[in-house]
């Protein structure tokens, strides 16, 4: 089976989707000729022509707004916002328009678009190239929010997202674009080619939206997480020598509640982990879900490990980032409670 980086897997997903369905079009800033600043769309214009993959003006609202219009016509647009931090000008189009179009028109129109955006820190991008805005989308009715953690999932989830009949926000953790992350910033990136999760099948396959994955089975405690932080949880579990079950949520809305309930009911202990700021973050939703559904199985209070409630600081990003040390302390805390 071929091995790929997440960038290559995303590129491959585009190609597979465009090959199968000529309604799929791809555009955004630098997406066409250059292939995107992270190269996720490299070669698509050459292969499919400049009417299927093209550059757009630097105007995020225009990109998403035009995609909605194209979708209303009957196309399947997949657009790239260069960094998640730049999506704010498009926020109104995503949350007030794409998310609600089917509902407000009672099914008369719909907006099956995919809005891809690189998310999270770990590349010294400072406060304007590092944010994780997933909670701003999960709070909005009508959106599906996806965060892959590895190349196999990224390809399968992106194909599912493009084929889905509703708008999907697809957040790509840039820290794992080019290789898995062992949780420590001072060590080199391990290429996905040497990592079992880097195996990506050729051709068409899907990973269903709304289904979580057990990244690591265990009996001591459950970590609920997604994206880059799946790998941090892995590092912390190994360093702590605990039998940790790591649930990679993959899709935040709709959430795989069954997978969460099954795991936490079994382990009785739960750490909620994400990179986004803590207050009103998606971890609050996860904690409340566990409290509502697993309270009588819990043997310790739920602990949240998140980014601090500050902007993402350039020089201090590894103090901001919830690394294996902080996660390890949280694991010990729930074990000792």
């Amino acid at each position: 089976m071929p091995t790929m980086t997440m960038v290559e897997a995303i590129r491959d997903a585009h190609a597979v989707a465009m090959e199968r369905d000529d309604r799929v079009v791809v555009f955004g800033e630098d997406v066409g000729f250059f292939g995107g600043v992270f190269r996720c769309t490299q070669g698509l214009q050459e292969r499919f022509g400049d009417h299927r993959c093209f550059d757009a003006p630097i105007n995020e609202s225009a990109i998403v707004g035009a995609a909605i219009g194209m979708a209303a016509y009957g196309l399947r647009p997949c657009v790239e916002i260069q960094f998640a931090d730049y999506m704010y000008p498009a926020y109104d189009q995503i949350v007030s328009e794409a998310a609600r179009l089917r509902h407000r028109s009672a099914g008369d129109f719909s907006a099956p678009i995919v809005v891809r955006m690189p998310t999270g820190g770990g590349i010294f991008g400072g406060q304007t190239h590092s944010q994780s805005p997933e909670a701003l989308f999960t709070h909005v009715a009508g959106l599906t929010t996806v965060v892959p953690s590895n190349p196999y999932d990224a390809k399968g989830l992106l194909i599912s997202a493009i084929e889905d009949d509703d708008p999907v926000v697809f957040l790509e953790p840039k820290r794992v674009y080019n290789g898995p992350f062992d949780g420590h910033h001072d060590r080199p990136i391990v290429p996905w080619t040497n990592h079992p999760l880097g195996e990506v099948p050729d051709g068409h396959y899907t990973v269903p939206l709304g289904k979580a994955r057990i990244h690591r089975a265990g009996a001591d405690l459950t970590v609920l997480t997604y994206g880059t932080l799946v790998h941090v949880a892995q590092a912390a579990a190994e360093e702590q020598g605990l039998d940790v079950e790591i649930i990679d949520l993959r899709t935040l809305v709709p959430l795989d509640v069954d997978a969460i309930v099954e795991s936490v009911s079994k382990t009785g202990r739960c750490v909620v982990l994400h990179e986004a700021t803590r207050t009103s973050g998606f971890g609050a939703e996860l904690s409340a879900t566990v409290q509502e559904r697993c309270f009588f199985h819990l043997e310790a209070p739920i602990v949240r490990v998140c980014g601090w409630d500050t902007p993402y600081p350039h020089a201090l990003e590894w103090s901001y980032f919830p690394g294996p040390d902080r996660v390890g302390r949280a694991m010990q805390e729930v074990m000792e409670a």
Binding site: S61, Y73, E97
Partner: protein, 419 residues
């Protein structure tokens, strides 16, 4: 020197501090220069479809006008319309007006929660709907009910939407007048302003990408053209030369805010097209024949792969912004009477009298016929209940159409509503 704020005569005073120009509503003053650069009927030349934008720009101090003060059609913009076509236009406009009047009365009777009328600007949407083709898609605002009425959309259905009753095609989810009718080329109206403008450009781009012949038409009020999305749409339309008509309906009022605030220091809203190399013309929006001709010109340009056209429609919002508005607080007295472009229905009626077989008696008969149709439609719609009478779609329907398929969390919440 804050005392200078808003007083234009002080704007050039010797500098003891900077000052701002803050435009003031005309209330309390002579209604000032309300319409810039009013041309004589027939004066403006009709450019070729592929005329260079610079040459079209030279017409910026003019306005497309066809009907003169006597009701005669003059000049190069006279559209090729038969008497019956014009009578159809008259009927469309009169139906919109009667519909609006009846709905306003229904609001006062407590039958509906909210309404917005198009009083005084009926010609614009009615004429453009007739100038475009079935299959084209309009991305309207809340004052283009003429697109639906001239397009033959069932009047009862419009009223069901306004009443939010059990037959409301939008299942009670939208404010009254925020219609959606894909089958009639009418995109779902958003309450968030200007968002539809880039969407229309995207729809037009998609049509071109698929080698289709359908075009899109974007609608916006002059006030909302201050929104970022208006400018975003112009960038997109200009960049890709999308087959789209970009309509700015300048009815001079954004609720209480005069057009000056959105226009900035530009001479006109049409001027904005030139910066994007988009041919832009100003049109007498109360002249049905000029409105039809200008729409047709823009439509032919789009259909011939000559790209976008911007049309600034000069008209006046004669009524309130909505049933929640009180224009007496901010509007000049006698504004409607002093508006130099008159009333669109009166002017087309006068033209038909001058031009053909039409008179006051026939006009009054048509008026009565339309009023009876509207009354009958309301009686039928009202029999299905309303948000006021509490006969509305069942609560469980609100969970439909959030997603194509009902996800688990909404299924659970729907079950809780039933408890």
């Amino acid at each position: 020197m804050l005392g200078a704020v808003g007083n234009s005569s002080d704007a050039h005073a010797p500098s003891s501090g900077l000052s701002l120009r803050i435009p003031q509503p005309a209330r309390g003053h002579q209604p000032a220069d309300q319409v810039r650069y009013v041309s004589k009927a027939g004066e403006m030349k009709k450019p070729d479809l592929d005329e260079k934008v610079e040459r079209v720009a030279l017409m910026r101090k003019q306005m497309v006008r066809v009907l003169d003060d006597d009701g005669r059609a003059v000049g190069e913009w006279v559209p090729d319309l038969s008497f019956d076509d014009k009578l159809t236009g008259l009927r469309d406009m009169m139906t919109v007006r009667a519909f609006d009047a009846r709905m306003l009365r229904a609001h006062r009777q407590g039958k509906i929660s909210f309404y917005m009328q198009a009083l005084g600007e009926e010609a614009i949407a009615c004429s453009q709907k007739r100038a475009l083709r079935p299959g084209d898609m309009h991305f309207p605002t809340y004052r283009q009910q003429g697109l639906l009425i001239a397009g033959g959309y069932p009047i009862v259905q419009m009223m069901n939407q306004i009443l939010s009753n059990e037959h409301d095609p939008l299942k009670g989810r939208q404010l009254p007048v925020l219609y959606s009718a894909k089958s009639h080329g009418f995109f779902s109206i958003s309450g968030n302003l200007a968002t539809q403008f880039p969407q229309a450009v995207g729809w037009a781009m998609a049509s071109a990408m698929r080698g289709d012949t359908a075009i899109a038409s974007a609608w916006i009020g002059e006030g909302s053209s201050a929104e970022n999305d208006f400018h975003a749409a112009l960038v997109m339309a200009s960049t890709y030369q999308a087959p789209v008509i970009l309509n700015i309906v300048n009815n001079h009022w954004a609720i209480s805010t005069p057009e000056d605030f959105a226009r900035g220091a530009s001479a006109t809203f049409a001027d904005r097209g030139y910066g994007f190399s988009i041919p832009a013309i100003r049109v007498d929006g109360n002249d049905y024949l000029a409105a039809y001709a200008a729409s047709q010109w823009a439509e032919q340009r789009a259909r011939s792969n000559l790209g976008p056209t911007l049309l600034e429609w000069i008209t006046l919002r004669r009524g309130a912004h909505s049933t929640s508005d009180d224009p007496s607080v901010y509007r000049p007295d006698h504004e409607s009477e002093q508006f130099p472009l008159g009333d669109p229905i009166d002017r087309l009626k006068q033209h038909l009298v001058v031009d053909g077989d039409w008179d006051d008696e026939r006009h009054a008969a048509l008026e009565q016929e339309i009023a009876a149709e509207i009354d009958a439609a309301l009686a039928e719609a009202d029999s299905h209940g309303s948000v006021k009478s509490g006969v509305v779609p069942s609560a469980s329907t609100m969970f439909d159409d959030v997603y194509a398929e009902l996800p688990r969390h909404l299924r659970e919440q729907r079950d809780q509503v039933g408890e």
